[in-house]
Symmetry: C2
Subunit: 341 residues, 2 copies
Amino acid sequence: MRPTVHDIAAAAGVSLATVDRVLNQRPGVRLVTREKVEAAIRQIGYIRDVAAANLAKGRVYPLVFIVPTGDNSFMHGLRLEVHHATLRASIERTDIRIVEVPAFDVPSLVAALDALQGQNIAGVALVATDAPEVRAAVDRLVSERIPVVTLVSDLTDSARHHYAGIDNIAAGRTAARLLGRFLGGREGDITVLAGSMLVRDHRERLQGFSAVMAEEFPKLRLLPVLEGRDDPERTKTLISKALSERKDIIGIYSLGAGNRGLIAALKAVRPERELTVVVHELTQHTRAALVEGTIDAVLNQDAGHEVRSAIRVMKATADGQAVIADQERIRLDIFLKDNLP
Amino acid sequence: MRPTVHDIAAAAGVSLATVDRVLNQRPGVRLVTREKVEAAIRQIGYIRDVAAANLAKGRVYPLVFIVPTGDNSFMHGLRLEVHHATLRASIERTDIRIVEVPAFDVPSLVAALDALQGQNIAGVALVATDAPEVRAAVDRLVSERIPVVTLVSDLTDSARHHYAGIDNIAAGRTAARLLGRFLGGREGDITVLAGSMLVRDHRERLQGFSAVMAEEFPKLRLLPVLEGRDDPERTKTLISKALSERKDIIGIYSLGAGNRGLIAALKAVRPERELTVVVHELTQHTRAALVEGTIDAVLNQDAGHEVRSAIRVMKATADGQAVIADQERIRLDIFLKDNLP
DNA sequence: CGATTTTTGATGTACGTAAATCAAAAATTT
DNA sequence: AAATTTTTGATTTACGTACATCAAAAATCG
């Protein structure tokens, strides 16, 4: 049987009330007594029953998710997953609020973060735009002892407690190797399509991609990065133009969202041009394109996992509990047409 | 505020005791009253507070894991993960027993399963050997209302409640496409190395692999399957022999365990022979070989996830609760040297 | 030393559910 | 209608923790 507060009291030779004062850091305990109790806790290996404690406290975790607006499929899916989490709110004792801010808009994000100061909040999760102002706002919340988790895209040098997202450098490297190997020893040009170089995840993917390309596939030449701003129309125009101008493009890496436009452009040149294509984010569009053979591989991060992980981490951090690092690692999924879920 | 049993009682116009009788299926309630209470439960959307219920019941979940002996790295890792789970036992209210049985030994497995009959057990997880006798033994436990989960390898046509493992046909197909694409349009022989065709996961991987090879890579010829019985020594001999006899082998798919022998054989022919190799299970050996470039891709199932998922499913099933299918899907991990965890 | 402050103990209530007991009411049988 | 059985209600205790209150004991101060 697992030890309880009564066992600590008996072991330390003090009353239940004193144990309670020590456990919950209430005042009115002499240092010697406190140490005696803490020793007993360690010695008998007491672990607080969080379920019982939460029951007694009637605890709920007010959580805030700050997510960008915009109609690309990935962010839409992310918002949907947060919404799903709200449906489990009562059984998970969470109270989730979703705050939407314009994508890549630093002042709005900072304002949204600052609005949370002083509020009774058990945790904040945000898709970070990587700017010093955002870092400062996050650090203000952290200094108020509010757990902060970055989601999908991380924040450089900030004091955020946790990052719930994939390793984007590794993702870029993986994309490069897949593309390079799939192209056999062929020689030609590679086009990289990004959303915006203002977000850290896109920059890191490019960094990893470029590194492996340079190291291992010298016959493949990287063309200047196209920025599609995650917008299907713009992306389609950019890609169509690139494909018609440069006949030696044999591979494409799309590291952002807005792949609808890319797929449309590819279909327009379909049987004549043979292209090897690796993209990010599994959506209904990329899935269909993968099945048809328009694209060759999809790298994906599971938004549902990220949201659930962020919630677990915020709750644990709010309770001062350790997180199981291994369980919270967000993995890079690689989908070929054969292992689609 | 979330509704409680008191709210049901008030809504249904009955006493707390009657609500309790209905909720816990105790006798002594007229049909009409029962229906009245159930209507009230549905109407106000009552959800039992599992934490409070478990606290009141002092519930623990006695779980049994039946895993094969044998010293291959994967099963060793699996046993380790179960062991880790026992360390979390007190906070998860589980009481986990590990039963080891000789690998591929049907009578032993059946005996281990039958020994559980009539015992107070909240769930059984087993690595199934796919035989009718095992199926029958599992079905006996299921008919005793004991939750049963297959782990890693599934059991054909059985009544097990859940399978905690990857889709092995998809894994085989994925391996084929990776190998085929990595080989560009080259022509040559492919060797498949299995542990044993007696386990369903190996059979399914081969099935998926063969299908994609036949459909999509006609220039690659499959040689007869080698059975290494997951034994490093035997595997090394088999592979070395095959490589020296057939000079046109250009690719290897190892779908079982015991890759130590394979890696040794590959290193022996290293710089001269250029081989593209895809294997299963990430272990210290396969990881090192991947980093060095001796092998090209590792397909993996995360044993830790499988064990944790199995536990969640057994607990939920024991409580008659629904499982979140999406969360319990075990994914196929694809590792290149760039995205190792 | 007595007076004052600080520390500790004893006790009770609460959280939401489970489970038991006993009495009362209702339904069923004779 | 009485006797019997079944159903329902009322009440209590328990799970492990949190939190509040009040009294008692110990420590510190003047």
